[in-house]
Amino acid sequence: MPDHLSALQLILSGDPALLAIVRLSLGVSLAAVALASAIGMPFGALLALTHFRGRAVLVVLLNAMMGLPPVVVGLALYLLLSRAGPLGELGILFTPAAMVIAQTVLIVPIIAALTRQTVEDLWVEYRDELRAMNVGAVGRMTTLLWDARFSLLTALLAGFGRAAAEVGAVMIVGGNIDGFTRTMTTTVALETSKGNLPLAMGLGAILIVIVLAINAAAWGTRVWSQRVTG
C-alpha cells in the first residue's frame, strides 16, 4: 500500500490491499456472529425456559461475561492453540480460523444473555396460550425464538458490533500477519503506531461506515417488522 496517499484517495481508488483487509475483517466477524448465534440463541432460550438449582448464578455469570476483556480471551486461546497447548495439534494459531473462534468466544455470552432476556419476557406473555395448546419443550423454544426474531436482531447486532470493533483477541491469536490475518482494527493499531495516519484514518472511517450501515439496516428491518407483524 502506498503510504503517501490520503485516506480519502485510498478508499476511492479501491486499493486492493485495503479491500482485502476489509473483506477479511467482515468475513471473520460475520462467521463469528453466525457461529455464536448457533450456540448462543438455543442456549439463551434453554436458560430462559428451564429452572434448576444455581440458575440465578448462571444468569449472573452469563451477564458478567458480556464484558469479557478481548485480550484475556485472546491470551487464553493463544495458550490453548499454541504448539505446546492442548489444542496445538490443530495448527490453527495465527490463522483466520483462530480469529473466528476468539470472536465467537467473545460474543456467545452477549447473544446468549440478550436471547435469554428476550425469550423470558416473551414467555411470560405466551405461557398460558402455549400451555393450552399443549406445546412441548422443544416447540416452546422454537416458537419463542421465531416470534422474537426481530427483537433478536438486536442481539446479533450487539454481537457483530463487539466482534468488528475488538482488536485485542484477533491481534493475539491472528498475529496481524500482512495479507493473511490483518484486520481493520489491527491495521489501525499498527499503522497508527507507525505514524501512517492517513491509512489508519481511512480504515477507521470504513469501519464506522460499515457498523452504521448494518445498524441502519437492522433498524429499518425492525420498523418494517413492526408494521407487518404488529
Partner: protein
Amino acid sequence: MRAPISDLPVVLEDVSLQRGVATILDRISLTITPGAPTLLIGPNGSGKTSLLRLCMGLAAPTGGRISWGGRSDPAPTRRAFVFQRPVMLRRTASANVTYALAQAGVPHAHRPGRAVALLERVGLADLAHRPARLLSGGEQQRLALARALARDPELLLLDEPTANLDPAATRAVEEIVTSAAQSGIKIVMASHDLGQVRRLAGEVVFLARGTLCERARASEFLDHPSTPEAQAFLRGDLVI
C-alpha cells in the same frame, strides 16, 4: 389420527385453591359432562377464571382432585381454552391456525385445507394473510376461537371472551360458540353478562367468594334463583 381418548367427563372433587393465605376456590365439586353450554357466572373475584384454569389443567389445585375422562394427567388432549385477552402469535392469521393444527397433531398435508375451513368458520377468510396482531379485538377473539377449534376439542373453555368487545363483535363470537355447541362441543364459559347467559346457557353455575353457590338450568336460575347470593346478583346488587 388421534387416540380415541376422551377428556370428558371432567370431575372436580372437593377442589380448593389457596394463594398465600387467600382462598380463591373453596371445596368445589363439579362434574362436566357433554350437553348444553354451561355458563359460569358470579361477581368479579368469585373465582370464575381460576375454576376455568383448573378445568383446563393450567393450574393445579391445592386441595382435592381433578380428572379428565378418568385420567389425572392434566395434559390437554381434547380440550381448548379461549382467554379473555388472547395472545396472537407474531405471524399471519392463517399461520396462527396452522400452528394450532400442528400442535394438535394434524399431519402437515392436511393443515392448509383445515386452516382455510376454520378461518371460514369464524368469518376471517378474507383476513387470512393479515398479521394476527394487527387484527381488531373482535377479529383476534374469533381467531382465538379458530385456533381453539383447530384442536378438535370435546370441551371448549372460554374466559369472558366478549368482555372487551362491542355488541357486533360479541354477536359474532356468540354465533361461533353457539354453532360449536350445536356441533357437539361442550362449552364452559365464564360471563358476567346476564343477557349473554340468557342467550347461550343451558345451565348456570353460580360462584360467589370462591364457593359454588348454585347450579341449575338457565331458565330456572334466571327466574327463580334459590340462594340469597344469586338473588342479590340477579337484582344487580353488589355481591362481594
